[in-house]
């Protein structure tokens, strides 16, 4: 039922073939603009660009193993109010999932966008990528995929994926309007483009691509990939739980925190216009610090660091989609992603909720089910 078409790979060039595909899309598809990651001049990274001219797509590279920010935030900015045209946005699965959460939080709308998701094999951290990429970003992407095709995996040239990506069990954006399939495909020949929604079909229908099916091989590889990641993830959960098992360990775990709030800024689902930690709520009276210090004779400064992380977990762990940008942003190498995912996993399980899966799932705190948490409320009658 879903429309599935081939994206042909010309001259075995994955990157340029994709660029051609997006050019066709912007030219022939019923869209006003396209938002997609591109290599920027002089920068050894990629950034989301909003493009309306098909000729300005020469540096497009959504497959580059890096994402300096979770683009859901910018999509949210684009869609808070009517946009005045339809835009296709090319996103990683975690970005789509973050965007879905934001839409539920009324921070964005899906009306004016077509979500295009690309299979994600992971990314290097912001620190590692510049070292990995060298001079030519597009060449680096090709190198990364060649390495994978040769069966050497995602570690390449001595660099490895960020822990968040290694623990990500959602490499395929099944909830996108259009899904671009890479995993399990012969990337010398063609990739897949699959429309999951009518919106996606409308877009693909005009591009003149020949239909195809989803090869069995792809399913197998996806299964394998997910299994590996879940194994990694569970190991991470176990280690993190152990490392934060009591208050003292938790304090140690977070002791490097300097209240820079970078993790919060980088977090795609942290949506407050202004964080409560920046408001008057935390304007303690100076004498208060001294009183605190007096109690035990020593007070670690700055204060409220553990409180900050706990609050963020309380607010956002139901919406955490595990992109790992928090860790990416931390200047002091606190494993923020690890603890957030560990907690989020439990919170979401408790509410039988999977952040970012679908717009149809009501966010946990907006609905009330009488029968939930019987272990807590049953005794309260």
């Amino acid at each position: 039922m879903a429309t599935t078409v081939k994206i042909p790979i010309k001259d075995q060039n994955l990157v340029s073939s994709l660029q051609d595909f997006f050019k066709t899309m912007l030219r022939d598809g019923d869209i006003t603009g396209l938002m997609v990651a591109q290599h920027l001049p002089m920068k050894s990274s990629v950034m989301p660009t909003l493009v309306t001219d098909p000729d300005k797509l020469d540096a497009v590279d959504p497959l580059a193993p890096v994402f300096p920010m979770n683009a859901a935030k910018v999509v949210s900015k684009l869609t808070r109010k009517p946009l005045g045209g339809k835009v296709a946005v090319v996103l990683r699965p975690c970005e789509i999932r973050a965007f879905i959460e934001l839409v539920k939080l009324k921070q964005g709308r899906v009306d004016d966008v077509v979500l295009i998701g690309i299979d994600c094999l992971g990314a290097y951290s912001n620190v590692h990528y510049p070292a990995f990429v060298g001079e030519d970003g597009m060449e680096a992407t090709a190198r990364f995929y060649r390495n994978i095709q040769e069966g050497k995996g995602t570690a390449c040239d001595g660099f490895d994926l960020s822990p968040a990506c290694k623990a990500c069990e959602y490499p395929i954006a099944e909830n996108a309007d259009v899904l671009i399939g890479v995993v399990g495909m012969d990337i010398k020949d063609h990739l897949l483009a699959k429309a999951n929604t009518s919106r996606g079909e409308d877009l693909l229908d005009n591009l003149g691509l020949s239909s195809t099916g989803e090869p069995e091989q792809r399913k197998k590889e996806i299964e394998k990939l997910v299994a590996e990641r879940i194994a990694y993830r569970d190991q991470m959960f176990a280690e993190t739980s152990e490392a934060t098992a009591d208050l003292e360990k938790l304090v140690n775990y977070l002791s490097n925190c300097v209240n820079c709030y970078n993790c919060r800024v980088a977090c795609p689902v942290c949506y407050c216009r202004e964080c409560v930690f920046l408001t008057d709520v935390f304007d303690h009276e100076p004498s208060q610090y001294l009183r605190w210090a007096k109690r035990k004779g020593i007070l670690k400064m700055p204060t409220d660091t553990v409180f900050f992380h706990l609050t963020r977990m309380a607010h956002m762990s139901t919406a955490c989609i595990g992109c790992g940008q928090c860790s990416n942003a931390c200047p002091n190498n606190i494993p923020v992603m690890e603890i957030f995912r560990t907690v989020a996993h439990q919170t979401q399980k408790a509410f039988d909720y999977e952040a970012g899966r679908s717009l149809d799932d009501e966010p946990p705190l907006s609905i009330f089910r009488e029968d939930e948490f019987q272990e807590v409320v049953a005794k309260m009658h």
């Binding site: 009324k106 216009r273 202004e274 408001t279 709520v281 035990k296 705190l365 907006s366």
Partner: protein, 1143 residues
């Protein structure tokens, strides 16, 4: 605060009484609310769970506007309202005067424990040697003679039950505050005359009573006694009946001539008991049975003494009286036969007992175990109609509520046991006649697996001694089953409350044949006596929702009467209290410590506490008072506050809840917003029972005070603004409900816009010609229309429709299109939607294929018009529940069974030879309607029950109609060939959806208006200021629609009666600069008080609808949504205060 403009007495402080009292209090009347029980709440005090939410929710009845005038906590715990004076242990003993000006005499039973002094420490109960069955737990647990009537009351004072008290005095000795006082010294002033011809009786009585401290004299004969009485006054005479010369009755008569006030108690042997009873009729107070022994006689005399000496009687004037005396539960082991072995067979309990078994405050702490042996309950049977629908129990009526009560209990049992309990309900008809009842029942059956077994269980047996209760029952086809249960629950029906006959006689109201209050035609609150109104189950058998509606109907009638007698609702409130603006001043907290006599000083180091508190930030001074709870202590505190000009007050005392009203008064007096005052409990935690050292106690007190100061210093001192009210109402719909509502409001002097889409007023009532009870609907219609047309305050728009409406409570702006096509914009403070429903149409059962197939309504019309002549009909078949009580219209239309009964009785009366068959699923003859069901059966109407999956089949051939239905009893198909087939198609929604959109309210899945809360706010919409009544809300009959309309008028008046309304001091606010517009708070708000203003791009809060629950603040991640009085900084300060000593 509104001017007191009249007063009313409400008898009975159960749910109905509370509703009526709150209604009147909210209108500004002074209300005296009395109950003979020592606690509020009536039956509901015992019930934790209510259908359909399976929670309580009683608090939803608390005032929504001007809510600071009442307490803001669980209503089952207590109620404070500035206009309500509650008197417990109190009965109405006399009523004189005229409607509008009754003089009522109230008698309060003596309070041995002074509630002002009792601090609820429980020492008295601990030392009390008496143990009796605990009424609160329906006898499943024991209590002492000095006890807490309801364990969760606030404040919770101990009371002495003089009936079981042995007067040992232990409690009096141990009470730390001297709250218990048996007043022994007063006994020495109490003179008793003992009259008996037998010396031994005289002497022993004298000895015993003197020992108890009384002053006793004796007389050996009648003449001797009369002599003594003539010479001096006595307080009590104990008088033997059988005496030579002059018998006791004669002495009684003569003594009554001399000293009519002298209480006389007869002494009798068994043989002359009847004489003693006769003596009571001519004025004896009571009688005592011989032979006497001191253990029984002395307490009896003492009880008499207590009642005589200490019963406080007083008289007051009230404009109207509302009788909300409630009901008693049928006693399955009472007189007559104990078919179900209640009290004989272990583990046979009543529904109330079951309710206590599952209650967390019950004897088993909510564990599902049975009373006899604590065994886990795994198999339960509910037996319906115990003491209802039973001639042998003198109950040709249905108790209306038991069906849903049992379904609820079965669901509770299922939930409590994670579905482990096997639950079976044995019933005759499952009366799911209310809104959403049917779906609830279906849910119980289909989702939870509750088994419903049709058939009345004849008895409960014990097959072997020490075994479990056994039920033998018959399948519908006659197969016998024998089943053993862990527990059998008897759904005991309702009875008039004890003493209702006296109450009726005293107040001059008629009772019906079963002893319930007789209501006037077309009213659920008017009794036979003008000025006396009935609320709740006193007039029979109502669930909470109906009781609440009826109570509001009663309060409207009471208010209408008082108003018509010149009481009048105040047009404007008196000048509002102007509070000092302290927002620019730094916080200055005065801390007042109540030392509770010297007991706090003994318990803790007060100097150290005082020093600590003085040192806290913003504390300007600390004062100690001996007892703030006394008038004297309070005046001292007031003085101190006035003198020193502090702008915050923290009181450290006990029982903070008691201070609500006092703080308001103080605020008014010294011009300080009471929101800036706080009371913390420094007493409870250091009760002797806790065994704290002085150090520990001091720390507890320090913590409590530090937290209090923490909260106060961050308190926002700005004042809440008042919302102006447009004192006009819009009523949409001119049927009987709309008209009644409009009249109710207009008769209080407020303007009403009444908008009707049809050309004429009347709606469905135009098509009704008879009621089941035989009252004339057309007369009612005529009278009501005439009143509407004549009323100067009512602006009537017929052939008009509503186009658009916006606004919030207090000011709505609505545009209507008038008859001539022109528009008009109306401004009004409240809106009432009363647009009615319509008879559903159908395509089932051959409707439309033959003229011999009509609807129930058509039958009534055609009988009226003469189109149908009963004399020409040989057989009539009626089919009930056409297309209803199954999806998609899975609800009972409530009125079809009564229509069928009404029409079939009429047909039988007109033509007794006619065969009338009613094919039904469950006959919904709730309440006293049951008796008409009996009559219909007696008249020879044949009722054939069918199941939804085995519906009757109708064939139309050559104009002839035939019906085939299976008789379940015989298991045979019955073929009927009626001359007329009548279909009860029920009531369907009629365009509510469109109106809902216009007014921004909700409809339910069946298209009827969705009330805020089925039980507690049955006529309100979630959005404050909009109300609904009549069939647009749910199917109901004329009388029920009228009652509901009266309730809406009452709810509307509550808002209209004042020019401006102030929100509570605790309301939510939005800090727009922080708000990300995620709308979580809108979803979280249970009162619909929030919305997003798209033009402004802001989240708005309706202060009058907001009840300060704080859900919005809890879901808001960055404190953009905050609750006044509970801001983050305050809570941090409180936490700091609490942690100060710990870390």
């Amino acid at each position: 605060m509104r001017k007191k403009i009249g007063s009313a007495l409400v008898v009975g402080a159960g749910i109905s009484g509370i509703r009526s009292a709150l209604d009147l209090a909210e209108l500004g009347y002074q209300v005296k609310l009395i109950d003979r029980a020592p606690n509020l709440g009536g039956t509901l005090a015992q019930l934790d769970y209510q259908f359909p939410t399976d929670h309580c929710g009683m608090c939803k009845m608390l005032p929504l506007v001007e809510r600071d005038s009442a307490s803001q906590f669980c209503l089952r715990k207590g109620l404070f309202h500035e206009n309500i004076d509650i008197m417990l242990n109190t009965e109405l003993v006399q009523m004189e005067g005229e409607p509008g000006k009754f003089e009522v005499t109230l008698r309060q039973r003596p309070a041995v424990v002074d509630p002002e002094l009792c601090i609820g420490c429980g020492e008295c109960s601990r030392v009390c040697p008496v143990e009796v069955a605990d009424e609160f737990n329906a006898g499943l647990a024991k209590r002492k003679a000095v006890y807490l009537p309801v364990p969760h009351n606030i404040p919770n004072n101990y009371v002495v039950d003089l009936d079981s008290c042995t007067l040992c005095g232990e409690c009096e000795k141990i009470c730390p505050t001297g709250a218990i006082d048996f007043r022994w010294e007063a006994r020495r002033q109490f003179r008793i005359l003992v009259v008996d011809d037998e010396l031994i009786v005289r002497d022993s009585l004298k000895d015993w009573l003197i020992e108890e401290g009384f002053d006793v004299e004796t007389a050996e004969s009648g003449p001797d006694a009369l002599d003594k009485i003539a010479k001096q006054a006595y307080h009590l005479m104990l008088l033997d009946i059988k005496m030579p010369e002059m018998d006791g009755v004669e002495v009684l008569k003569r003594s009554k001539d001399m000293r009519p006030d002298l209480p006389v108690v007869m002494m009798t042997a068994y043989a002359t008991v009847e004489t003693a009873v006769e003596a009571m009729k001519i004025g004896a107070l009571d009688y005592l049975m011989k032979p006497f022994d001191p253990d029984t006689l002395v307490p009896l005399v003492i009880k008499l003494y207590e009642n005589l000496e200490r019963a406080g009687e007083f008289t007051m004037e009230v404009g109207a009286v509302i009788l909300a005396a409630g009901f008693d539960s049928f006693d399955p082991a009472g007189k007559g036969s104990n078919t179900y072995g209640y009290g004989e067979i272990p583990n046979v309990v009543t529904s109330i007992e079951f309710e206590r078994i599952v209650s967390g405050t019950g004897p088993y702490h909510g564990k599902l175990v049975r009373p006899s042996d604590g065994k886990e309950i795994r198999k339960v049977a509910w037996l319906q109609c115990v003491g209802s629908r039973d001639m042998h129990a003198d109950a040709d009526y249905c108790s209306s509520v038991c069906c849903m009560f049992s379904v609820k209990e079965a669901l509770l049992a299922k939930e409590r046991s994670n579905g482990q309990v096997e639950a079976t309900i044995f019933y005759m008809d499952m009366r799911t006649f209310g809104k959403d009842f049917q779906r609830y029942r279906d849910k119980a059956e289909k989702e939870y697996g509750v088994s419903f077994q049709r058939g009345r269980v004849h008895s409960v047996e014990l097959k072997q001694l020490g075994g479990d209760p056994t039920i033998v029952y018959m399948d519908i086809d006659g197969t016998a089953h024998e089943e053993v249960f862990d527990l059998v629950v008897l759904a005991a029906g309702q009875r008039p409350p004890a003493g209702s006959d006296l109450l009726a006689e005293m107040t001059g109201v008629d009772l019906n044949q079963w002893g319930f209050c007789q209501l006037q035609p077309f009213s659920l609150s008017c009794t036979s006596r003008d000025g006396v109104y009935a609320a709740g189950s006193f007039s029979g058998l109502r669930d909470i929702s109906e009781s609440v509606i009826q109570a509001s109907s009663a309060s409207l009638q009471a208010s209408r009467l008082i108003h018509s007698k010149g009481g009048g609702l105040a047009e404007a409130s008196e000048s509002e209290v102007a509070f000092r603006d302290v927002s620019r001043e730094p916080p200055q907290v005065m801390v007042a410590l109540c030392t509770c006599g010297d007991s706090l000083a003994q318990a803790a180091h007060l100097d150290e506490v005082e020093a600590f508190v003085s040192d806290l930030d913003y504390v300007s001074q600390v004062h100690r008072f001996e007892s703030i709870c006394t008038q004297e202590g309070w005046s001292q505190l007031e003085e101190a506050m006035e003198e020193n000009g502090a702008n915050r007050l923290l009181i450290g005392a006990c029982m903070p809840y008691v201070y609500t009203r006092k703080l308001r008064d103080l605020g008014a007096k010294i011009g300080l917003n009471p929101a800036l005052m706080e009371v913390v409990d420094i007493r409870t935690s250091v009760f002797p029972g806790n065994n704290f050292s002085q150090e520990q106690a001091s720390r507890e007190i320090r913590l409590a005070l530090a937290m209090g100061v923490g909260k106060l210093k961050g308190m926002d001192p700005s004042l809440s603004a008042a919302t102006p009210i447009v004192q006009k109402a819009l009523v949409v719909g001119g049927g009987i409900a709309g008209m009644t509502s409009a009249l109710g409001i207009a008769e209080h002097g407020f303007e009403v816009f009444l908008v009707e889409k049809a050309e004429e007023l009347g709606g469905n009532l135009r098509r009704l010609y008879r009621t089941l009870e035989g009252n004339p609907p057309q007369e009612l219609l005529e009278q009501t229309i005439s009143k509407i047309q004549k009323h100067p305050k009512i602006h009537l728009y017929t052939n008009a429709k509503v186009l658009h409406s916006h606004g919030r409570v207090g000011c709505f702006i609505t545009t209507i299109e008038k008859e001539d096509g022109s528009g008009e914009t109306l401004e009004h403070g409240v809106t009432i939607l009363a647009t009615g429903g319509k008879e559903a149409t159908t395509e089932s059962y051959g409707y439309g294929q033959s003229e011999s197939i009509v609807t129930q309504h058509q039958l009534e019309e055609q009988l009226h018009s003469g189109q149908i002549n009963p004399a020409e009909l040989g057989a009539v078949v009626m089919i009930q529940c056409v297309d209803s009580r199954e999806e998609p219209r899975n609800y009972c239309s409530r009125i079809c069974c009564s229509s069928a009964l009404k029409n079939s009785l009429y047909l039988k009366e007109q033509n007794p030879e006619m065969n009338v068959y009613i094919l039904y699923r469950d006959i919904m003859a709730y309440g006293f309607m049951e008796t008409y069901y009996t009559q219909a059966r007696q008249a020879g109407v044949i009722f054939i029950q069918y199941d939804v999956d085995k519906k009757p089949k109708v064939t139309v051939e050559n104009g002839g109609v035939s019906t085939v239905v299976t008789d379940p009893i015989l298991g045979r198909e019955v073929m009927l060939e009626p001359d007329l087939l009548v279909l009860s198609t029920g009531v369907a929604a009629d365009g509510q959806g469109q109106l809902a959109e216009i007014f921004g309210v909700e409809t339910n899945q069946d298209g009827f208006f969705q009330e805020a809360e089925y039980k507690w706010r049955p006529v309100d919409f979630l959005q404050e200021g909009i109300f609904t009544c009549g069939m647009c809300h749910s199917p109901r009959n004329i009388t029920e629609s009228i009652a509901m309309a009266e309730a809406t008028a009452q709810r509307a008046l509550r808002i209209l009666a004042t020019m401006r309304v102030t929100a509570g001091s605790i309301v939510a606010e939005v800090r727009h600069v922080l708000c990300s517009l995620c709308e979580k708070c809108i979803e979280a708000c249970p009162y619909g008080a929030r919305w997003r203003d798209d033009d402004e791009g802001k989240i708005m809060v309706d202060e009058l609808s907001c009840q300060g629950c704080g859900s919005c603040a809890a879901v808001c991640p960055n404190s953009a949504s905050v609750l006044r009085g509970y801001r983050d900084q305050q809570i941090f300060s409180v936490i700091e205060g609490a942690l100060e000593e710990i870390f």
